[in-house]
């Protein structure tokens, strides 16, 4: 069964304190790994897609990396506006719609 776990469940950082969020997955035939940001009461906002081990993507203070078993979202010198829940999702091989599996998310708080 395809599974996605994320750690830590919650993370509190001081402004400027860099850290990493982890997404571990077990899937049969990874087609893509996706990172989203979700603010309270809103829909997830797309951040990155990673397709193969070794791939990296960057956007402002965020950098996503992928290995065969996990992905990391590195946050460099975070600001309070980076506070949100970060979701990881994987798409496995097979039919189109049923194989987007989401993790429970990591709630990030960045304190000024």
């Amino acid at each position: 069964e395809d599974q996605v776990t994320q750690s830590p469940e919650a993370l509190r950082l001081q402004e400027g304190e860099s850290s990493s969020l982890n997404c571990s997955y077990t899937v049969s035939g990874l087609r893509g790994l996706f990172w989203y940001r979700q603010d309270p009461g809103k829909g997830p906002e797309f951040l990155f897609t990673l397709y193969s081990a070794g791939e990296e993507k960057e956007k402002e203070r965020l950098k996503a990396t992928l290995t065969k078993k996990e992905s990391f979202l590195h946050i460099t010198a975070p600001k309070p506006e980076d506070s949100a829940t970060y979701l990881c999702a994987v798409q496995a091989g097979g039919s189109y719609g049923q194989n987007f599996v989401f993790g429970p998310g990591t709630r990030l708080s960045v304190l000024p």
Binding site: F34, G41, K42, G43, F46, T49, Y51, G97, F102
Partner: protein
């Protein structure tokens, strides 16, 4: 920026009422999805569609139904709302050649 819309944003309704949650996208995406998300919990897929006249049930058992008569429109209907249906409902769409899903802002449903 993705153009996907959901209405209403908030809905409070009594038990037994029939409700329809609207979802529209202007990107011409063929794949559309409905997810249910309880506070602080992961997204669960309840329905998806490959295209017009194509609908499938997702991983999470749901008493709702969907229809896809037009590419841009994917409404979700609850024939008889119950308190257990209280949740946030998120609609998403995905283009044919692109991996990511784009999410709408969500509908927060409270059934009394």
């Amino acid at each position: 920026e993705a153009d996907i819309y959901q209405t209403p944003r908030y809905l409070v309704i009594g038990t037994g009422k029939k409700i329809t949650l609207e979802c529209s996208q202007t990107m011409g995406h063929d794949k559309m999805y409905w997810y249910q998300q309880d506070p602080g919990m992961e997204l669960h897929l309840i329905h998806y569609s490959y295209g017009v006249n194509s609908t499938e049930k997702g991983d999470l058992s749901s008493e709702s139904t969907v229809s896809r008569i037009r590419t841009e429109h994917f409404p979700l209907t609850l024939e008889s709302a119950r308190p257990s249906h209280t949740s946030q409902y998120l609609c998403a769409s995905r283009g044919l050649a692109m991996g990511t899903q784009y999410f709408g802002p969500g509908t927060r449903l409270l059934v009394l």
